[in-house]
Amino acid sequence: MAAQLRLSALAAAQYRVGFWTEGVLAVFWSLVGIVPLWVAIDHRGAVVGWGPWELMVLTGCFAALSSVFGAFLQPALIESMNHIRRGTLDHVLLRPADSLLLCLVAAFSPWRLLELVFGLVLIALSLARLGVTPELASVGVALGMGLASVACLYGLGILTLCLSFRAMQLQNLTYLFEALLDFSRWPIGVFRGLLKALFTFVIPLAVMTTYPAAALIGRADVTTLASALLTGAALLVVARLCWQVAVRGYTSASS
């Protein structure tokens, strides 16, 4: 597994364009994406109880998550979908390791990790501005939230992959996923009614960025942590089951 990752990292480093097209572009997008938040702050002073620097902590969490998505999950999904389309998934299924894990490390874009660095720096800066020195306990809670967040991300990613077994044309779903992820820049409180339910329970954007950010600024309790971890675990289990069903229905493409 580690060997596979090292190989794709080396491959990616060979392409100088990756530095500009993946790394720098992603950081740029993280920055530019702040504009709508800034407009809201400009007119309102705060968004559903989140002040400017608190929103920056959230933005940092978003950048970190988006980096994990862009560096690990998205390239692996796209590569695996290509395997499915060309019928070369056979090679993956034949290898003596768990097929789902192999699919999830099928490709790696190291340059996207620049965005992670950016996110962490942003979080540190914003916390300093807020005058918050995170206690050990809240760091622990935040780490737990981060874990739940990544679990949700991967659960959804695996579900997307499973869907693409059913119809090749559903491969665009990765982009839909990416587009939706963008709304996790906003605290979940801005959404109401159906969308709030959707983004809390079905596509848990709340667990993915709002909760970790809330934990960092000391607004989360152990109950939220428990529910977040539960959501993440449940999504992973469901995704795993779907994967088993999907692989059973895999008909190796003939051409």
Partner: protein
């Protein structure tokens, strides 16, 4: 002779290729500085083809065959030299020029992937401004010859490689081009499909007097279709003439094989010709052309002599030998 269908003089084509060293350091250095290497795909090429000829372009990988073909079809701009095809300068891509040629590539397609081939045929009918009745007539003719009746209504992605190539050929020939370029048309196909495509191309050439220029890795394609061959290596012309002429220049010896109960000693055989293979009841000799009748009569006289065969060396071997000695290139020119 009328104006040549294809006239090439002093053609050259160079590409710039970006280079990158191995390892992380080189990759980082390449972030700011890009190294470029110039590749001469075609160095110096001159030849002329008469209308109605069938000509094979031969050469090892990277010899410049495909590049030449693409320049002739107007896809690439030549770096130097003069090219005239059907009386036009190809890279200007005049409407009349494009209507009088076609290029079929074994690994590329013009057919729309998710639609039936007949939709692309219909598009070409309008784009090439083909008269409706002529279109009907040609399509029916092609469909019958290639057996496409049911195939052409299926989405292209569901077709086999051979079926797809048949449809590609039809799409390329509906406007009845007077010059047809074929780049590896039988790539990856089974033998019966190769035969069908070969026969179809030959009939098209004979019935409409079209010029055919073919590149192929399958020597059988070339030797069965093309009376004349151009051998290209390293971007330059190494030979121009018939296959027989090439064989006689490179490998003048005839290859004689026979089976018999027993053969004379090696020393005696060496007097007849060069021994290529001697195993059990089988003997293969390379013999000077003028001594063939004499050697054959002796071989026939051997005990239980059978399966006597005299032929020229196979094209593959001739070419391998031609490419293996780059220094006496001029010797091969007739």
């Amino acid at each position: 002779m009328a104006e040549p269908a294809v006239q090439v003089e002093g053609l050259g084509k160079r590409f710039e290729v970006a280079e990158r060293g191995a390892g992380l350091r080189a990759a980082l250095r390449a972030l700011v500085h890009r190294r470029v290497r110039v590749v001469e795909a075609v160095r110096e090429l001159s030849f002329a083809l008469a209308p109605g000829e069938r000509v094979g372009l031969l050469g090892p990988n990277g010899a410049g065959k495909t590049t030449t073909l693409k320049i002739l079809a107007g896809l690439l701009y030549p770096s130097r030299g003069q090219v005239r095809v059907a009386g036009f300068t190809p890279h200007l891509r005049k409407y009349e020029f494009l209507r009088s040629i076609s290029l079929v590539m074994g690994h590329k397609r013009q057919l729309s992937w998710d639609l039936p081939a007949v939709d692309t045929f219909e598009l070409n009918r309008v784009i090439y401004d083909i008269d409706a009745s002529a279109y009907r007539r040609r399509l029916d003719d092609f469909v019958e010859r290639l057996g496409l009746a049911s195939i052409m209504f299926k989405p292209v992605r569901q077709l086999s490689l051979g079926e797809r190539m048949k449809c590609e050929l039809v799409a390329a020939l509906l406007h009845e081009p007077s010059i047809l370029f074929l780049d590896e048309p039988t790539l990856g196909m089974d033998v019966s499909m190769q035969l069908a495509i070969r026969a179809f191309v030959r009939e098209y050439n004979e019935e409409r007097g079209a010029t055919i220029v073919l590149t192929s890795h399958y020597m059988q394609d070339v030797s069965a279709l093309c009376p004349r061959i151009l051998v290209i290596n390293d971007g330059a012309l190494r030979f121009d003439g018939t296959i027989e002429a090439l064989t006689r220049t490179i490998r003048p010896l005839r290859r004689v094989s026979v089976r018999a109960e027993s053969f004379p000693e090696d020393a005696a055989l060496a007097d007849w010709g060069r021994v290529i293979e001697r195993a059990g009841d089988r003997l293969v000799l390379d013999v000077e052309p003028e001594r063939v009748p004499e050697v054959v009569s002796r071989l026939v006289g051997l005990p239980d002599s059978r399966e006597l065969l005299v032929r020229e060396a196979p094209l593959e071997e001739v070419l391998r030998e031609l490419f293996a000695r780059p220094d006496d290139a001029d010797e091969a020119r007739p």
